[in-house]
Symmetry: C2
Subunit: 187 residues, 2 copies
């Protein structure tokens, strides 16, 4: 049965959820990164760990997103990407992303972030130049998409902390698992 | 010179700051705690580390608080505690606390939290019974107060994750450093 109403707007969605101060979040995330750098020493290991944390978080957040957004099934990856950019980023971070740089097959695109609350006050010291500071975000996207049957690879192609002019995350759909319905609506 | 206007209300203050989704914050904080448990093994060490993280965060957050709240100098510890409970908690976590259980000297009191966004969805496994999950909060209070010349000891005396009926944080003022003014207003 289709939902009685369409999806909420990003602003309405963001207004409908409990929120905390963005600076507290930013500093808390910064504390994780610092802790991992101290514990793991290898920047590459820190990148992996942040991605894995994000993945775990994403697999949980997708439930809140689906429950509150009134988004019904997306017809394809393209629509899914639009929903993430306009509603997903807004609902969780209070910002929106632009979807761009589609490949010909419609299976790879980029999210470009206009604003990134994760990196306020952050500067990378010279010893951390290989650090993918925002890997938690790419992990979240990967984890959330996997919960709706889309396997993806997500990588950062531009990062302002590393001197680029924007934050650009590349999302490549590698496998779409057809959903099966062993149950009926009236079960 | 007194500020032109009085302090903002907690609601106005919370509305005036950038915010992110509380569930994202909760899950991110949970990821730190899990990471520390994995890395440090000893629960007591995790408690210390969370407190220290909170302290570092508190020393930063106090600036945003003073800049945005229009709060002028508090006359004593009692007024300071009220400001933290009504404005501080609201500005950063979106909740308020009750100040209670004052000692006769007016140097120890409790903050009782009606709602605690840090612990949504959290259950402690049996192996973590000594964990002070919310130590980051007590650390924040300690760090923030130290920046305004009040040395404190902050401990949890009730914790719902450990079976108590509320979250109660005990704050004891141990030393108040008189502020000195080597500069003049018109410097």
């Amino acid at each position: 049965m289709p939902p009685a109403t369409g999806p909420k707007s990003g602003d309405a969605l963001f207004a409908s959820v409990d929120r905390v101060n963005a600076e507290l979040f930013t500093l808390t995330y910064g504390a994780i990164v610092r802790q991992l750098l101290t514990d793991l020493e290898e920047v590459e290991e820190v990148n992996k760990q942040l991605d894995q944390m994000g993945y775990n978080i994403g697999t949980r957040l997708v439930d809140e997103f689906l429950a509150k957004s009134n988004v019904s099934r997306c017809v394809d990856f393209k629509e899914t990407a639009d929903v993430i950019a306009k509603l997903g980023f807004k609902m969780f971070l209070g910002v929106t992303a632009t979807v761009t740089n589609w490949d010909a097959e419609g299976t790879s695109c980029s999210f470009v972030l206009e604003d990134n609350p994760l990196v306020d006050f952050v500067e990378l010291p010279d010893t951390c130049q290989g650090l993918q500071y925002c890997n938690v975000l790419s992990g979240v996207i990967r984890g959330a998409l996997e919960m709706v049957s889309m396997k993806t690879e997500v990588t950062w192609v531009r990062d302002m902390l590393r001197g680029d002019d924007a934050y650009e995350m590349r999302v490549k759909l590698t496998k779409q698992v057809p959903e099966e319905y062993p149950y009926k609506d009236d079960d």
